[in-house]
Amino acid sequence: MTGTIGQHELSQMFRSAAARIRERHGELSVLDSVSGDGDHGTTMLRIVDQLDIAQSSSEPKTILHDAGWKILNVDGGASSSLLGTFFLGMTEAPECNSPLDCPALAATFEAGLAAVSKQTRARPGDKTMMDALVPAIESLRAAVHAGKSVVEAMQDAAGAARAGAESTSGLTARFGRAKFLGEKTRGHQDPGAASIALLFEGFSMALAESKETQ
């Protein structure tokens, strides 16, 4: 089966992403204390709490909208604004109204990325969460072209996000608080990019599991 993502799967994706962040938030704060103000792990905890809260509603679109709005409400500096915008932006894809097949999934995530890209001038190579987010979403589109299932697509996306996050070690920060440190940030991953990798890993693990149990 190629499968689709409905309310149930989306809720599981959110729960799994939240769990993944909770597992690793300590590392995120450590990364942020190298390049920023050390609060990224704590902020991500507050952000993923909103993913849990948002799950009660009925349609994917409402769930996404709820999550985005609630995340925007987290006092989290850069990351909550960008991640809130990401989820809220997804709801601008007409495809997100019904259960998501692979093309709808890609289109929905692309709408999220488009919204984020309007709020920041950061692009891959600038050592921000964009280094994980952009390749992740590109790989969703590639999976559509390859005719892959949503499970496979999300697996690819998680891999791409992880590779993107790892690539940030070699970069020099040009955005966010980290830019003031310049060269000193080299050799360490960008915390926001690491969070994106964790979120997509969570999404992917949830879909893989829900496929097994089907």
């Binding site: 103000d37 050390g38 609060d39 925007l72 987290v74 500096g77 850069a78 604004s81 830019k179 003031f180």
Partner: protein, 333 residues
Amino acid sequence: MRMKKFINRPENIVPELLEGLALAFPDKVRLTGSNLIARAVPKSKDKVALVTLGGSGHEPGLSGFVGEGMLDASVAGEIFAAPGAPRVLEAIKLVHGDAGVLLVVLNHAGDVLSANITMDMAKREGLNVKMILTHEDISSGPKDQPEERRGLVGFLPVYKVAGAAAEQGRTLDQCLQIAQRMEQNMRTLAVAVSTATHPSTGQPIFELGDDEMEIGMGQHGEAGTGRMKLKTADETAEIMLEMLLADLEAKVGEELLVIVNGAGATTLMELLILFRRVSQVLKAKKIKLARAKVGEFITTQEQAGIQMMIARLDAELTGLWDAPCDTPYFVVR
């Protein structure tokens, strides 16, 4: 070592301090909505309203300047973290009258993101809001890239002159223009000599050697590039003032506003000693020290250090700076 701060639970710091502010100044401000500080007595609906946003832990900035002649509302974020856009929108709606709202934003990544998202939302809802970014920290970007420069204590004269203009009944565009003129003519530089404890985590927010200071320190300990051995008050004042004057291209005969802002643990005694030297140097250069303000306006917990700001004044800006105001931490008779 246990953190030596008078707090209760770290997660309650912000609501509790705002509650304290509203209880201490009930005739000036009130706490409303989700961590919004607004004027106790709203200004009349036909006047432009001023809103700002920013992280907490920098008291009295920013919410301590809500009141007659300055801000109408301040949206307080968590410790050192920008508030989310929905709450900024809530504040704008709260004070929005017939003349519109001026949103004053200090240039810090998180604050700007929130503000931009808010502006998108406000536009979609048909609200009349204009935004001004303050970015006067000369250490965080070159002169031709003002968008790289952070907003430091320069928010204070911007609130003051724009607030006074609003009080006089000027239009939103006029208030914005005045704020912009103030903003474009101001420059700030910070120096830190010792770090502070993050009140939520109990950790130091940066590290500095026992005999070091850092010129160009950001508001939250974002390091600058000017780490050097400790200097005397006079030497420090001279170094910082020279850099500021050069960047502003201040000329003989011009009139300046000078602010010396304490970061937290630096005493008023020291601020006054530093200010003395600033005043002497300006006199020697035949630049007029027209107005001054020395004290704590934006702090970073108990960090030791200062922010020095200079701004070029013209007759209109001077008049607006002198206009009466009545806020918890800035009163002009």
